[in-house]
C-alpha cells in the first residue's frame, strides 16, 4: 500500500518533468518560426561581447531580441568593466567591446573605433519639499564630496545635505561619480541597492539628494535642472544635459568582422530598437 503510494508520487514527478520538457521544446520551435518569417538572411555563429557592467541591461535586451530574430546566432556577454571591454576589442579576444565611456585619445590612436548605440542620462533628484531647483555641475560635485554640507549654500533651506546613492559596482553610481568627477570621495549617508530604493529614500527624507537613471524618475521626487537644463530624453540626445555618457561598441579598425557582428551592430544602432533601449533604462539615439 505504502509502496504503491510512493510509486504514484514518482510517476507524478516524472510526468510533471516530461510535461515541462515538452513545453520547453514547443517554445523554441515557435521562436524558430518567428525568426524564419521575419528575417530572410540566415546568420549563424557566435558573437563574443564584454565590457562595461552598466550596459548589461541594454545589451541583454538587444541581444535577446537579436537572437530571437536569428536563432542560430549566439551572443555572449562578459561583464568585466569598460576598461576590459576596450582591451578585449583591441587584442581581439572580443568581437565587440562594450564601454560606458568614450574612447580616450590614446585608445583611438591604437586603431579603435567607437560606435555609440545608446545614451545614459542620470537625473539628480531631491525631495519635492526642497526649494532648490537648479544646480551647477560644480555645486553637485560639492554636495557629493562633502565640501557643501548645508542646503543654504546652494540657495536652499538651512538644512544638512544627505547623499543617497547606489552600492559600489553599480553602473549608475559609476556613471554619476565619473561624470561629476567625484570617484571614491562621495560622502554617502545611505547606499541602497536599487534605483527604486534611492528614489523612495529621497522621497522619504526632506534633506536628501540622490541620483537615478533618467527613466526611473517619477513624480514622488523632484529632478533638478543642471546648469539650467532639464533632464529629458531630448536634452540628453542633443547633448545639452551634462550628466550623461555614451554606451559604445568598440571595434578594431582593419580587423575582420564576422557577418553576424556586422549585422548586430547595424541592428543595435537602428531606429527599430529605440523602444527596447528605452525599456532597458537607457536613452535611445533617436
Amino acid at each position: 500500500m505504502k509502496l504503491r503510494r510512493i510509486f504514484a508520487i514518482f510517476t507524478a514527478c516524472a510526468l510533471a518533468a516530461s510535461l515541462t520538457a515538452c513545453g520547453g521544446s514547443q517554445d523554441t520551435e515557435s521562436q524558430a518560426d518567428a525568426g524564419e518569417t521575419s528575417e530572410s538572411t540566415t546568420l549563424s555563429g557566435a558573437i563574443a561581447t564584454g565590457g562595461s557592467t552598466s550596459v548589461e541591461k541594454v545589451i541583454g535586451a538587444l541581444s535577446e531580441s537579436f537572437m530571437e530574430l536569428n536563432p542560430d546566432v549566439d551572443i555572449t556577454y562578459d561583464p568585466t568593466g569598460s576598461g576590459a571591454g576596450i582591451t578585449g576589442a583591441a587584442d581581439g579576444t572580443l568581437d565587440l567591446g562594450l564601454s560606458s565611456r568614450d574612447l580616450k585619445e590614446e585608445e583611438t590612436a591604437q586603431g579603435l573605433t567607437a560606435t555609440t548605440f545608446a545614451l545614459d542620462g542620470i537625473a539628480i533628484v531631491v525631495n519635492s519639499e526642497n526649494p532648490v531647483s537648479d544646480l551647477s555641475l560644480e555645486q553637485i560635485k560639492g554636495l557629493a564630496d562633502g565640501t557643501i554640507t548645508n542646503w543654504k549654500d546652494v540657495g536652499g533651506n538651512d538644512a544638512p545635505v544627505v547623499l543617497i546613492g547606489r552600492e559600489a559596482g553599480s553602473g549608475t553610481r559609476d556613471g554619476f561619480e565619473s561624470i561629476v568627477g567625484v570617484e571614491d570621495v562621495c560622502k554617502y549617508e545611505q547606499e541602497l541597492t536599487s534605483t527604486g530604493a534611492v528614489i523612495a529614500g529621497v522621497a522619504a527624507n526632506p534633506n536628501a539628494f540622490g541620483y537615478a537613471s533618467l527613466s526611473a524618475v517619477d513624480e514622488t521626487v523632484k529632478a533638478v535642472t543642471v546648469d539650467g537644463v532639464e533632464a529629458t530624453e531630448e536634452t540628453v540626445q542633443d547633448g545639452t544635459y551634462k550628466i550623461q555618457r555614451p554606451f559604445i561598441f568598440v571595434t578594431k579598425d582593419g580587423a575582420e568582422q564576422t557577418e553576424q557582428t556586422k549585422a548586430f551592430i547595424e541592428y543595435a544602432t537602428s531606429e527599430e530598437v529605440s523602444d527596447l533601449v528605452a525599456q532597458a533604462g537607457a536613452v535611445p539615439l533617436k
Binding site: K2, L3, T53, D78, P79, T80, G81, A159, P160, V161, V162, E167, A168, G169, S170, G171, D174, E183, D184, Y188, E189, Q190, E191, L192, T193, A197, A200, G201, A204, N205, N207, A208
Partner: protein, 291 residues
C-alpha cells in the same frame, strides 16, 4: 515474509539517503566557503582584511578592510540582545506562569505569528515607520542608522527567545515551585528566584538562538541601516557582515578580487554562526547534565 524483508531494506536505504542529503549539504557548503573565501583573505592579508577600517572595493586603489562590518554586526547583535532579551524573557514568564489562560491564548499565537513574518516585511515597516521616526525623534539628518537596525533586530529575535524560554519555564518541575510557596514565598518571588534559575539553560539557549538570527539577518537590516561602510556609531549609517555580501554581490565581476573578498566575508560570517552553534550545543549539553 520475503516481501516484507525487501520493503524493510528499501525503506532503510531511503531514510539513510535522506539523512545523508543534509550532511552532504553542510559538508559541501563548508568546503565551498573555505575554497571560495580563503584566496582573497590570503591575497589581501589576514590582518589587513580583518582589522582594516576602510572598505572601498571599487576604488582605483581598492581597500578591503572588514573591521567596520564585524564591529557593526557585533554591536548590532549586542544591542538587539540588550533590548530583546528582557522583553522576551518577561513575555515568556508571563505566558508560562502568570497569564490567565484566556489571555495566553491570544498572546501565544501572536508570538508565533511574529516568528512567521518574512524579514522583508520587518524591513519594510522599519523603513516606513522607524526610519522617519528615529530621524524626527533624535533630530538626525537621516534615520537610517545602527539604532534603527537594532530596534528591528530586537523585535525579530523576540519569537525565538520567547518560545524557547517558555518551553523551558513550563518544564520546571512543579515540586520546586510548590516547595517555595510552601516556605512562604509569594508567586512572583517563586517565579523569579526558583523557576527562572531552574530554567536558565533553556533560557540561555533561546538567547543564543536569537543571537544567531540577529547576526545572520540580511534583508531587514539592509533596508534600514543605510549600508555605508562606517565604523559603527549609534546614529551612523552602518553596514553589517550580511549586507556587505548582499549589497555588492550582484554587480561584482566574476573572478575579481571584490567578488572573492565578498566570499571571504561570507566565510567570516559562517565562522561566527558556527561558533554560536557550538556555544548553543554546549549550553544544551550542560543543561541536560545538570538535570
Amino acid at each position: 515474509m520475503k516481501v516484507k524483508h525487501v520493503i524493510e531494506r528499501v525503506m532503510n536505504t531511503v531514510f539513510f539517503i535522506c539523512g545523508m542529503v543534509s550532511i552532504a549539504a553542510v559538508l559541501l557548503i563548508t568546503i565551498y566557503m573555505v575554497i571560495a573565501g580563503l584566496p582573497a583573505i590570503l591575497e589581501i592579508g589576514p590582518i589587513d582584511f580583518l582589522l582594516g577600517q576602510v572598505w572601498q572595493s571599487t576604488a582605483a586603489d581598492p581597500k578591503f578592510g572588514i573591521l567596520p562590518f564585524i564591529m557593526t554586526s557585533v554591536w548590532g547583535t549586542l544591542g538587539a540582545v540588550v533590548i530583546g532579551v528582557p522583553i522576551g524573557l518577561c513575555t515568556a514568564i508571563f505566558l508560562s506562569k502568570l497569564a490567565p489562560p484566556k489571555l495566553a491564548a491570544i498572546v501565544h499565537p501572536a508570538v508565533e505569528l511574529l516568528a512567521g513574518i518574512p524579514s522583508v516585511v520587518y524591513g519594510l515597516i522599519g523603513m516606513m515607520v522607524l526610519v522617519p521616526g528615529v530621524m524626527n525623534l533624535f533630530d538626525l539628518k537621516s534615520g537610517s542608522t545602527l539604532l534603527t537596525a537594532i530596534l528591528v533586530l530586537a523585535v525579530m529575535i523576540l519569537p525565538s527567545i520567547i518560545s524557547v524560554s517558555e518551553t523551558a519555564l513550563r518544564a520546571v518541575p512543579p515540586e520546586y515551585e510548590e516547595a517555595s510557596l510552601g516556605l512562604g514565598a509569594t508567586w512572583i518571588e517563586t517565579v523569579c528566584k526558583v523557576s527562572v534559575p531552574a530554567a536558565k539553560s533553556g533560557i540561555a539557549a533561546g538567547v543564543v538562538l536569537g543571537v544567531g538570527r540577529a547576526i545572520g539577518e540580511a534583508m531587514a537590516v539592509m533596508m534600514v541601516a543605510g549600508n555605508v561602510a562606517n565604523m559603527p556609531g549609534l546614529f551612523k549609517s552602518v553596514r553589517f557582515l550580511t549586507t556587505a555580501v548582499a549589497s555588492e554581490m550582484s554587480y561584482a565581476a566574476d573572478g575579481s578580487l571584490q567578488k572573492q573578498a565578498l566570499f571571504s566575508i561570507g566565510l567570516i560570517l559562517f565562522i561566527f554562526i558556527m561558533l554560536i552553534n557550538l556555544l548553543l550545543g554546549r549550553i544544551l549539553k550542560k543543561g541536560a547534565a545538570t538535570k
